[in-house]
Symmetry: C2
Subunit: 367 residues, 2 copies
C-alpha cells in the first residue's frame, strides 16, 4: 500500500508538471498565431498580395530548424509533423491555403496534401491530373498536389506532360513512404511458404513480385490485409501481404519490403502553383528542355552540369507532344535559380538546346 501511494503521488506530480507544460505550450501557440496574424497585416498593407501568406521556403526553414534543435525524445519526423500542424492552424486563421489534389479521397495524393499543408488547409479532390493543373491556373486554389514519381513505375508521365503546356511552377515536393510488405510469423520457415493471404486488391498489386518470388504459393484473398495478418497466427507455412503496422500489432516479421508493382503506389508528389519560391538553403530545381534528336544530344545537355559540379537528381525523357522537337527532357538538380553558378550553367545549357523552361526552384522535401 505504501508503494501504491508513492506511485500515485509520483503520477500526480508528473501530471501536474504536464499540465504546467501544456499551459505554456497553449500560450505559445496562441502567441505564434497572433504573430502570424501580424505577418498577414503587414503583408496586406503592401502589394505583395494575398496569395503569398504561405511561403514554402519559410516553412521548410522552420521545419529544418525544429529538427536541428530537436534533442529528443521525439523523432524528427514526429516533431516536424506537429509543427506542420501548428503552422497550418496559424495560417488558416488568416486565410486557409486552398489545395486541389488528384483524388479520390483516401488516396496517397490526399495523404501527401495533408502531410504538406496540414489538416487546416482546405483541400478538394479532382479526378484527373490536368483538372488539378486547370484549377490552379484558374486561381480557384492556391496549390495543386500531383504524383510525379512512384516506387515501381518510375515517373508519372502525365504530370510531366502537363508542364509542357502549362505555365505553372513547381513550389515544393512531398515524399511519402507507403509500401506493401510480406509478413511471416516465423522467419525460419521462409522456404516452406505455401500460402499467401491478403486482400484481393493487394494480391493484384503485388502480382509480378509474387510470380517471381513465390510462383507456387497459393494466393488466398481475404476480407482485409489485417485479416490476412491475423490468420498467420495458426499457420506456420503461410505469409501475408500487409502494412508494416500489422506486423507491429500481430508480432510478425517483415520478410520483404516494397513488394508492390502497381502504379498506384506513388511515393513522390509535386506542389504546383504560380509562386516563384525564394531559396530556402536546401533546394532543388526542375527544368524542361526541348532538343532535336542528334548524336550526343543528351551528353551535350548534361555536360555543363557535370563541369559546374551540379548534382543531377533525375533525368526523364519524354516524346514531345508538339512535334516541333523530337525530345523533351525533364532534369532535376540540387540548387536554386538564385545561385549565380546555377544561373550561369542554365545559360550555357540554354545555348545548346531548342528551348529551356525553368519549372521552378523549391525546397527539398523535409522528411
Amino acid at each position: 500500500m505504501a508503494d501504491a501511494k508513492t506511485q500515485e503521488q509520483a503520477l500526480l506530480e508528473l501530471r501536474n508538471r504536464i499540465d504546467g507544460i501544456d499551459e505554456r505550450i497553449g500560450q505559445l501557440i496562441s502567441e505564434r498565431a497572433r504573430c502570424a496574424q501580424e505577418v498577414a497585416e503587414v503583408k496586406n498593407a503592401s502589394a505583395e498580395g494575398r496569395a503569398l501568406y504561405y511561403r514554402p521556403e519559410r516553412e521548410a526553414q522552420v521545419l529544418r530548424k525544429v529538427m536541428e534543435r530537436n534533442e529528443g525524445p521525439l523523432s524528427n519526423e514526429e516533431l516536424a509533423r506537429l509543427f506542420r500542424e501548428i503552422m497550418s492552424a496559424c495560417l488558416a486563421l488568416e486565410q486557409p491555403v486552398k489545395v486541389a489534389y488528384l483524388g479520390p479521397e483516401g488516396t496517397f495524393t490526399q495523404q501527401a496534401a495533408l502531410k504538406h499543408f496540414g489538416q487546416s488547409a482546405v483541400s478538394l479532390p479532382f479526378s484527373a491530373i490536368d483538372e488539378v493543373f486547370r484549377e490552379v491556373e484558374a486561381g480557384a486554389v492556391n496549390y495543386g498536389v500531383v504524383p510525379v514519381e512512384n516506387s515501381t513505375e518510375g515517373v508519372v508521365s502525365h504530370t510531366l506532360d502537363n508542364f509542357m503546356s502549362s505555365n505553372l511552377k513547381i513550389c515544393g515536393e512531398v515524399e511519402l513512404r507507403v509500401h506493401h510488405n510480406l509478413l511471416v510469423s516465423d522467419v525460419t520457415n521462409v522456404n516452406s511458404i505455401s500460402r499467401i493471404y491478403s486482400h484481393g486488391q493487394s494480391l493484384a498489386q503485388c502480382r509480378k513480385w509474387l510470380d517471381s518470388h513465390y510462383p507456387k504459393a497459393e494466393r488466398v484473398a481475404v476480407s482485409s490485409n489485417a485479416e490476412a495478418a491475423r490468420r498467420l497466427k495458426g499457420e506456420w507455412n503461410a505469409a501475408a501481404i500487409a502494412p508494416a503496422k500489422a506486423a507491429e500489432i500481430y508480432g510478425l516479421n517483415i520478410l520483404a519490403e516494397k513488394i508492390e508493382d502497381q502504379p498506384d503506389n506513388s511515393t513522390r508528389f509535386l506542389i504546383i502553383g504560380t509562386q516563384v519560391v525564394p531559396a530556402s538553403g536546401h533546394d532543388k530545381t526542375s527544368i524542361l528542355v526541348a532538343m532535336r534528336n542528334q548524336p550526343g544530344a543528351l551528353h551535350n545537355l548534361l555536360e555543363p552540369f557535370h563541369r559546374h559540379e551540379i548534382d543531377l537528381t533525375r533525368v526523364e525523357t519524354r516524346p514531345s507532344r508538339t512535334g516541333v522537337w523530337t525530345y523533351v527532357f525533364f532534369v532535376d538538380f540540387n540548387g536554386h535559380m538564385d545561385d549565380p553558378v546555377i544561373r550561369a550553367t542554365l545559360d550555357e545549357v540554354s545555348s545548346r538546346v531548342a528551348d529551356l523552361k525553368v519549372l521552378g526552384s523549391y525546397p527539398k522535401a523535409v522528411l
Copy 2:
C-alpha cells in the same frame, strides 16, 4: 522604397519572434514527451500494466483545460486538435496505441479513429463491426472504433447488437461532422434550379432528399463534387452537391446542409476496449437493459432516471437475439458510475428488469 524597407524589416522582426516561439514550443513538447516517459516508467514499476498508458479520462481533462485556457486567436477545435496530436506523439514514444476500426481506409470511421487517437497511433482497418470487436477481445489491439449513430439512419444497430454478446466496455465517443450540402452561386435563383450536378455517388446518397425537394431538376453526374461546384460559375439555374469547403473555394452559397440520406454518413462513433474509465468530470454512461414486453415496461424502466433527475441522452429499442427476453434497450445518460446517485438509480432499475449490463462510463466527446 522606404515603405518596402520598413515592411521587410517588420516581417523580419516578426519571423525572428516566431523562431523564438518555435524554439520554446519545441523545448516544451520535448519536455512533455520526457514527462510522458516518466509516467510510463512509474506505471511499468507497478501492476497497473501496459494497456493503461492511454487514459481516456485524463486525455479528455487535458483537452478541456486547453480549451478553457484558450483566449484565441485559434478556435478551441483547432487548439484541441493540435494537443491531441501532441499527446498522440508523446504516447507513441513509449507504446503506440493500437486501434482497429471499421474500414476500409478513407472512411469516416478512419477519420474518427485518427481524430481521437491522433496520427501517431497504429490503426488497422477491418471489414466488419464484429471483426473489430473480436480484435479488441483477443487483445491484438487496445481499442476499436465503430460507428454507432448516423445522421440519417439513426443508430447503427449492428454495433449495439455486438454488445449483447460481448464483454467489451465503451471507453469513449467521437463525433464527426461530415455532410453533403446543396450549393448555389446565387441564392436569389433558388426557385429556378433546373439542374443539379454532383458525383454519381453523392447524387445517390441524397436521392430521397432530392426527390422531395427538387423532383423536377435534372441530375447530372460529373467526375467529382469539386467539378460539380466548379460548373456553377457559368450556370445561374444550376446547383451542386458538394462539401462546404467547395463553397469556400468557389465562392458559392450553401443553400441546404445535411441533405444526405445514406447510411454511410456516420457522425458518432464509439471507442471500445477492456478498460474501466474513471470519471473525467463530464461523462456519459451507456447501459443495456433486457426486459419482458409488458404494459408500461419502458415507463417503469425510465422512471427512476426521471426521479433522480438524470439526463437521458438516448434510448434505443432492439429485439433480443437470444429469445429469452422480448426487448433489449440501450440507454445513454449523463453522469458516471462512480457517482453515488447514478449507482443508486441503477440499483433501482436493476430490480425492475430481467437483466442490466453497464457498457461503460466514458468522457463525453470533446468537440
